[in-house]
Amino acid sequence: MRIGAAKATYAADEALFDSATQRCWLGVLFTALVCFPFLANAYWLYLAGLVAINVVSVTGLNILTGYTGLVSLGHAAFLGLGAYTVAILEARAGTNFLLNLVVGGGVATIGGLIVGMPSLRVKGLYLAISTIAALFILQFVFYNWVAVTGGSAGLSVPPARLFGLVLDDSFKFYWVIVPLTVLLLFGAANLFRTRIGRAFIAIRDRDISAEVLGIPLLRYKLMSFGLSSFYAGVAGGLWAYFFRSVTPESFPLLLSIFYLAAVIVGGMGTILGGILGAAFMTLVPELLKLIVGWLPIQGDTLVIISPLRTIAFGALIIGFLIFEPNGLAEIWCRVRRFFHLWPFRT
């Protein structure tokens, strides 16, 4: 049982993982991540890749909405920007895989900065709705700028190549996606130990007070938009390599809502919440399919799976918001506390 932890240095105080137990479990997690692809079949590797992409994207959205308090429903558009950039570069220029991802993230960042411009004039829900407008405008561009984006046919992406190895199946791709995701997660966690991260949190809590304290609002809000869009752009690039095709229909409003729901279900304002939310929302449809398969229903269950998935999605959002507003991260923390303080009650 851990009662308290006295920190002797500033570095120890700021550490992301402050106890030996935590570091131990982290080691276990990394070992598990390394062993996973050897034990799992192609289907689970596919799911793992999808979860990783969603984790990156949700972490980005979490930076913007969870930590800075700026609700954005345009996240899917930034994924789209990243995906299209990567698709165009890979298909037409054949440049290096990692470079493409960075450029994709960069283009998405520029998009994010532009979309974030109104954030000084409008706040709250009005900002959310202006991001919806941005999403539709970008979607229109994806559909109609046929010369660049291939219009409604979309673009097909050749498989990624890293050091001469062609990443064409889920196993190989896993080894690229997961380290990248872990790196980006550490980056995000680290961000909130710095000045910038604390400024974001201040803006979320009370932006006018933050301004009074000397935080230039527009600069930091734009930075938040830019950073979150960078994450989205990288996620979009990974998406392009993963699915090997990019169409304008791949990034609808529904995807933005999915990511926002993942942020909320996971727990706004915590990195762990981002991971849990993304994993949970990605795996729920699979779980649902399993459950429906077990139920003794006559006829073709396929017809009811899709509506059930929609209902489950909505019910999860409503349920979490009413009963557990701090999301899965809170549940996780409570369970952890239970084990920490055992045999005492929490």
Binding site: S152, E249, F338
Partner: protein, 390 residues
């Protein structure tokens, strides 16, 4: 939520995870697997549900007769909602879980997108709901085929019919803003010019749109003799036709394969009398001809079966025929061999579903017939022979 409740939920989840991890791929060896990205929900769900039934019925028929060369056929599928990226995801999922040799894709967009992957893996022969002209090219799409003539050929047949019935007639194209809708338009503008007809209006509707009143106004201005719809299964054709008639438009309406379902047309009421279109197959309730396969279908499923059902049925028939020929030649079931088997299909009898024995050309089955809607008798009447398209 109390902690004990949470602990119990966690235990349940752990159990589920444990069971999930064992639910891997358990498939019998020596099986032929047909994979399908099927639009069971979404804007094409009417077609998707029937296609699904058609494929399933044919697979069951074949399995009941002992399978293909002694191997059982298994049909695995995922719902896509007619969204291209969901189709791609379904493809990835199905091919990672099963040894898929034959595939049915739900849309033109999907067929185009998945093509590089098919070319890379060279293990799957694919057909689908698309009759897109671009796909009817064995050099660019070596491992795909379509279950009928391509849209451009369908359009050309309709335009030729118009040119015969009324030389120098005016024509309008109404199509949806999607891959499906746009496919044949450019090429057919040239055909229109070649046949001496005049294209007076081109109306594009956003996919899934419901309110077409402004588009009909445009159409009325142009007042064409013939209006060809393409890129729709049902909506918004009934709305177009009903509004157009109310405005006093005298145009004759025509459609391509997917809008030719008898029930859908009959539901449109007297406005749709005389609706013309291309059908590569007979209608399922056509008892006039000697068609043993149609008889079988009528036995399995009494009552009228949609044209979309027939499309799925014939698709499965052709896919399994290719598999059969490949196995008969003692060859491995890979894309090259399966496609070679497809190319070897000459004077093939579809059991009467298609009115004449078919020989494949490029990636298509170039046979079609023009039908006209006779609302009074509730029937679709053929107004041409079984034509071979060029």
């Amino acid at each position: 939520m109390s902690n004990s409740f949470i602990i119990r939920v966690l235990q349940l989840l752990g159990l589920a995870a444990g069971i999930l991890s064992t639910a891997g791929t358990v498939y019998a060896e020596e099986e032929i697997v047909i994979g399908g990205s099927i639009p069971i929900t979404g804007v094409f769900s009417f077609a998707g549900v029937n296609i699904h039934a058609g494929i399933g019925d044919y697979v069951k028929l074949v399995n009941d007769q002992g399978g293909v060369m002694g191997r059982k056929v298994r049909y695995v599928y995922e719902d896509t909602g007619y969204k291209a990226d969901a189709s791609v995801a379904a493809f990835k999922k199905l091919t990672s879980q099963n040894p898929v040799h034959l595939y049915y894709g739900d849309s033109t967009a999907f067929s185009k997108i998945i093509n590089p992957e098919l070319n890379r893996t060279e293990s799957i022969l694919m057909t689908g709901a698309s009759f897109a002209t671009e796909i009817n090219d064995p050099r660019k799409y070596p491992y795909q085929f379509m279950v009928g003539p391509d849209y451009q050929a369908m359009f050309a047949l309709l335009l030729k019919y118009i040119a015969r019935e009324k030389p120098n007639a005016t024509v309008a194209f109404v199509y949806s803003d999607s891959e499906f809708g746009r496919d044949p338009i450019e090429e057919n503008k040239k055909t229109v010019a070649n046949l001496g007809l005049k294209l007076v209006a081109e109306v594009i509707t956003p996919p899934g749109s419901v309110d077409v009143s402004t588009e009909v106004l445009k159409l009325r201005r142009a007042d064409p003799d013939y209006t060809i719809f393409h890129g729709y299964v049902l909506a918004p054709i009934p709305e177009f036709i009903s509004l157009a008639r109310k405005m006093g438009m005298q145009s004759q309406f025509m459609g391509t394969f997917w809008s030719m379902d008898k029930n859908n047309i009959m539901k449109m009421g007297e406005d749709a009398d005389g609706f013309l279109g291309i059908m590569p197959y007979r209608y399922s309730d056509d008892a006039s001809a000697d068609a043993p396969m149609l008889e079988k279908i009528r036995q399995i499923r009494p009552g009228y079966q949609s044209t979309t059902y027939l499309q799925g049925f014939v698709a499965a028939m052709l896919l399994l025929e290719c598999a059969k020929r490949t196995l008969e030649a003692d060859q491995e079931l890979n894309a090259k061999n399966l496609k070679a088997a497809f190319n070897s299909i000459k004077n093939f009898d579809t059991g009467g579903i298609i009115g004449v024995p078919v020989t494949v050309k490029s990636n298509s089955i170039p046979v079609g017939r023009i039908y006209k809607a006779d609302l009074k008798n509730g029937k679709m009447v053929p107004v041409s022979d079984w034509l071979t398209t060029e």
